[in-house]
Symmetry: C2
Subunit: 189 residues, 2 copies
Amino acid sequence: MSESFSFTKSKWEVLKDKKLYETPIFSLHEKTVKTAEGPANHPFYVLNAPEWINMIALTPDEEIILVEQYRIGVDEVTLELPGGMVDDGEEPLEAAMRELWEETGYKSEEWEKTGFVSSNPAIMNNYTHLYIAKNCWLDGPQKLDGHEDIDVHLMPMKRFMDLVRSGEVHHTIVVAAVAHYLLSGAHSA
Amino acid sequence: MSESFSFTKSKWEVLKDKKLYETPIFSLHEKTVKTAEGPANHPFYVLNAPEWINMIALTPDEEIILVEQYRIGVDEVTLELPGGMVDDGEEPLEAAMRELWEETGYKSEEWEKTGFVSSNPAIMNNYTHLYIAKNCWLDGPQKLDGHEDIDVHLMPMKRFMDLVRSGEVHHTIVVAAVAHYLLSGAHSA
């Protein structure tokens, strides 16, 4: 293992944190801060959100389980890893097991955490926890809530990697999960 | 190359797009939509932002150029790839060249695009364009604006990869750039 990095900068001081707007997914906050040089001359804006999770879920013959759905942010239909929000009182691993089951109907008894990423350190306060689930089996139908409308797709890992490379799979946290998968030594490519 | 993916889902129809709040980094919008099953029974929330860029910038002896700064979203000091926003009227590659020069003082004449990611397809409308810049040289001092306060660090690629694996480098778009770098064949690890 390498030595850890020694940071040289100091944190700023948050003088005021004002909630401007609340949505079911995040709340928008305006922060007044003091930098190393003194009080900042403008406020900063941050989204507070619960922790998120996603997972590389594999069947016994090493096919990856993916979800296709409409995403309103980019106004496009996307292909992604299963994932979602950690509910109140839930552990991230519990959330990962629940989201895989709800979005795809699959279950696994072999879960491993590959890492985590900050969802966007400049404007979001939360982290996303990344998992691998091996030897998944189809337990039953999807359990979708609200307006969720998700198609499930299975494909060989090599094809998935080709779709990441080409940009057809483009969700940044999905692609970050691929980096942790590649760096974890879990892959055999 | 693999065949491209054939999507089966349809896009929703955006019936109304109301701007709720504007900040210098993004604007918050409330969208009223019609899904495949009819009008949704609640609005959705999206951030509109300009395109973003980041880059894996390497010196002639293959050290990677990194930036250390305080990030208010996570309230932590982070280590990241150089990057930022594409300005009005700028091409993403121009923005990448400008941001590298402003944040680190380095320049390169060997730029290559490794891919792109959607910054968060569920809640953001924008994409981040990912570059490699080779044989960078130090052209002069940093040109920081506003409250930017950035330390520059150089390290061997292997150490950077260790810091990604351990989570000390955790910005999701930085980690996504690592995935594209690993999949591009540009690395020799």
